[in-house]
């Protein structure tokens, strides 16, 4: 409990038994009465109680969903927004493993972990929203493949991408458990998982938008366009970047003592780079949005209440944070970049909720507003994800450097390959 982080051991020492080690790792580390815990623990407990209520009394007792509004914030925020926020993992792994921008390597693990947990928790929250969760296995085991459904594609991609992300993160788990042979095997799978994961991400990030293509007559014309899938992908890029910047800034304060001083120094560089990339993605997004607006010929709708919401979203939460990103990157100011990231993340929430909830049947008299129970459960899911993240970060080499033996393995794997015949020999020697 009171060990200082520098003496805290990350990973299993040689000769230590696996199960006692895991048992000891399950105990909390660090202070229990932190402000975050004091706020989040009651919310999680209340959320769990409400989840019990949801499964014993039904969706009607816990949510404000009705026949007009079949999807509420459990879809619009937890899934549609949560997945956009988890996009940092695929964008960052693209930069590091495909474009080999080594600058960002030090934050890949934290981002992939965050992405993986986001998928587990947020798409796990789907089980709450789905009315007959015991049938969720149907589209997976194949007795009921609804292959013409975008939702079918999204569900499969969630599943496959979770596996891909787990493979990407698994070397850290192997390092934690001190499993050397496994670590070596797992790290050879990383690039394959990354590339496959990026394709899956592109498709289900856009797929989440494509879901709403079928709500053609129900979404306000300023938001409904056949380009929703493209807009979702492009905006997921800066949604992911923004969350990486926010998460990185918080982590540097909370877990700062774990982070190698060398990486501390790089942090500003990383933030500036991410800020620039986010600004580029936002420019592309803004440009596309303007094109869609021009093509849609809906200028007359801009001066209506919904039009004002649209303008607030576009100017206040896209154009403004984009300029802030550019300015922050120019003067290399972390706080400006963080502010820009927070505003654009809020803009993503706003946009996703606009499409899924606010501009959905905007004109019906009794519009859906989430119940307090829906909001508490949503907060509990978010806090639960942060708890899981913290648990893993305190135990696995996420911010701290990998153990020396793992680095040795990476070095061996990275060595330039000799001629083909020798590879065969080398493989045999390893075996």
């Amino acid at each position: 409990m009171n060990t200082t982080p520098t003496t805290r051991s990350f990973g299993r020492a040689v000769g230590q038994d696996l199960w006692p080690f895991i048992k000891s790792e399950l105990k909390p580390k660090g202070k229990l009465l932190t402000p975050f815990n004091i706020i989040s623990a009651p919310v999680i407990l209340l959320g769990l109680a409400l989840i019990v209520l949801r499964f014993t009394k039904g969706l009607g007792a816990t949510t404000n969903l009705n026949q007009e509004f079949p999807w509420g914030i459990w879809i619009g925020f937890d899934v549609v927004t949560g997945v956009a926020f988890a996009a940092g993992a695929y964008t960052l792994t693209f930069l590091v493993y495909v474009l080999r921008m080594e600058k960002y390597h030090s934050i890949v693990r934290a981002t992939v972990l965050n992405g993986f947990l986001a998928y587990v928790f947020y798409s796990g929250a789907l089980a709450l929203d789905v009315g007959r969760p015991w049938k969720m296995i149907n589209p997976i085991i194949g007795n009921s493949f609804g292959i013409s459904s975008v939702l079918f594609l999204v569900a499969w991609h969630f599943l496959l991408y979770m596996i891909a992300q787990f493979i990407e993160f698994s070397p850290a788990i192997a390092e934690w458990l001190g499993l050397r042979r496994l670590r070596k095997i797992l790290s050879t799978l990383t690039v394959g998982a990354v590339i496959f994961g990026i394709c899956l991400s592109l498709l289900h990030q856009s797929g989440l938008g494509a879901l709403f293509l079928l709500a053609a007559a129900k979404i306000h014309p300023l938001w409904y366009t056949e380009y929703i899938p493209v807009l979702f992908v492009v905006s997921s890029v800066f949604a992911g970047m923004s969350i990486v910047i926010i998460e990185g800034s918080i982590s540097h304060r909370v877990f700062g003592n774990m982070i190698d001083p060398k990486h501390h120094a790089e942090h500003t560089d990383i933030l500036v780079g991410l800020g620039r990339l986010a600004a580029v993605a936002m420019f592309v997004y803004f440009f596309l949005k303007v094109l869609v607006l021009i093509h849609g010929l809906h200028f007359d709708l801009l001066n209506t209440p919904m039009g004002h919401i649209y303008l607030i979203e576009m100017v206040g939460f896209v154009l403004f944070p984009m300029l802030l990103f550019i300015y922050g990157a120019q003067i290399r100011n972390k706080n400006v970049l963080l502010s820009a990231a927070i505003i654009s993340a809020l803009g993503i929430i706003f946009n996703r909720l606009n499409i899924s909830v606010i501009a959905f049947k905007w004109d019906v008299p009794m519009h859906y507003v989430p119940s307090w129970m829906e909001i508490v459960i949503t907060l509990a899911v978010v806090f639960g994800e942060i708890w899981a993240f913290r648990w893993a970060v305190n135990r696995m080499p996420v911010f701290v450097d990998s153990p020396a033996w793992a680095k040795q393995i990476d070095k061996e794997l990275a060595e330039p390959q000799p001629a083909v015949q020798e590879i065969g020999l080398k493989d045999k020697q390893i075996a």
Binding site: M136, S148, F152, V191, G192, I198, L211
Partner: protein, 286 residues
């Protein structure tokens, strides 16, 4: 990274098999216009309906639902629900008040079916769109997708079902007609092959051109529906959605689904190539 080519082949193979698995080839079959004239459907002639609710009562009996508790009332809009698959509304119009029955439209290419992740919503070859309890996982995407807001969900139940008119699909096999059709004293609702119903509807318009608007609702809406309507006033006055267009809903997601195998096939190859190209210290080998 070692053996990029093997990696690439592996990934391409993986992608190819994945796209075969996930490839939406069947999805496109649905969007092809086909002859629906032999499918069964209903023709609702709103000029004949007197608002007696016989159809509602018969529907409740046939489906084991509670009998209707309220009556059609001008100025008040009744909707179908989990215990009423069809309702009659009274609508004030420029002529006299009009009574209009609503229920599932049984689209030829239903949005709900293309939305359904488990094939629980199913367009039978005979025409009716039915819901299959053993498949549905309760995601309610069908409700989001349906342009007519027909599927209803039992929110208060812990074993909730989707409820909607299935055109008495289970009775049709016995040679019977849908309960509402059988019960109608005015022959305002007629059951038959869609092609025949269209002929009847056109003939009525031709025989009584002053009595009808010269338009059959459902003939082309959202790609055509198996329930057809005749009216004496423009359909928007009856509260019908007339801005839905004639494109079948599965078309809206077709382009997106087309891109799936493309991305899964070309994406890995492209990225493996990109990774190969950015390999450090490789200039001499070329």
């Amino acid at each position: 990274m070692k053996t990029t080519r093997r990696e690439l082949l592996k990934l391409t193979g993986l992608a190819a098999s994945a796209s075969l698995l996930l490839g939406p080839d069947k999805a496109f079959a649905r969007t092809v216009q086909r002859d629906t004239s032999t499918q069964v459907g209903m023709l609702v002639d709103t000029t004949r309906c007197i608002g007696c609710q016989s159809c509602e009562i018969a529907c409740s009996e046939a489906n084991g639902l509670p009998p209707p508790t309220d009556k059609p009332n001008a100025g008040q809009r009744r909707t179908t629900g989990i215990d009423a698959y069809t309702v009659v509304n009274e609508i004030e119009s420029e002529k006299s008040n009009i009574f209009c029955k609503t229920q599932c439209m049984h689209c030829d290419q239903p949005a709900c079916v293309s939305a359904c992740i488990t094939n629980a919503m199913y367009k039978t070859p005979e025409g009716p769109v039915i819901w299959r309890e053993n498949k549905c996982m309760g995601c309610r995407y069908c409700m989001l997708a349906c342009p007519f807001d027909v599927p209803k969900f039992e929110y208060e139940s812990i074993n909730p079902r989707i409820r909607k008119c299935i055109l008495c699909y289970d009775r049709l096999g016995d040679g019977k007609q849908p309960a509402c059709v059988e019960a109608c004293p005015q022959e305002a609702v007629q059951y038959g092959r869609r092609g025949d119903l269209l002929d009847i509807a056109r003939k009525r318009i031709a025989d009584h051109p002053a009595q009808y608007v010269h338009n059959i609702y459902g003939e082309n809406e959202v790609g055509g529906t198996n329930v057809l309507y005749l009216s004496s006033v423009p359909f928007e006055q009856l509260g019908f959605k007339t801005d839905l267009g004639t494109v079948a809903y599965p078309e809206f997601t077709k382009t997106f689904l087309y891109s799936v195998p493309l991305v899964l096939l070309l994406g890995p190859a492209f990225m493996a190539g990109l990774r190969h190209a950015t390999r450090p210290g490789d200039d001499k080998s070329h």
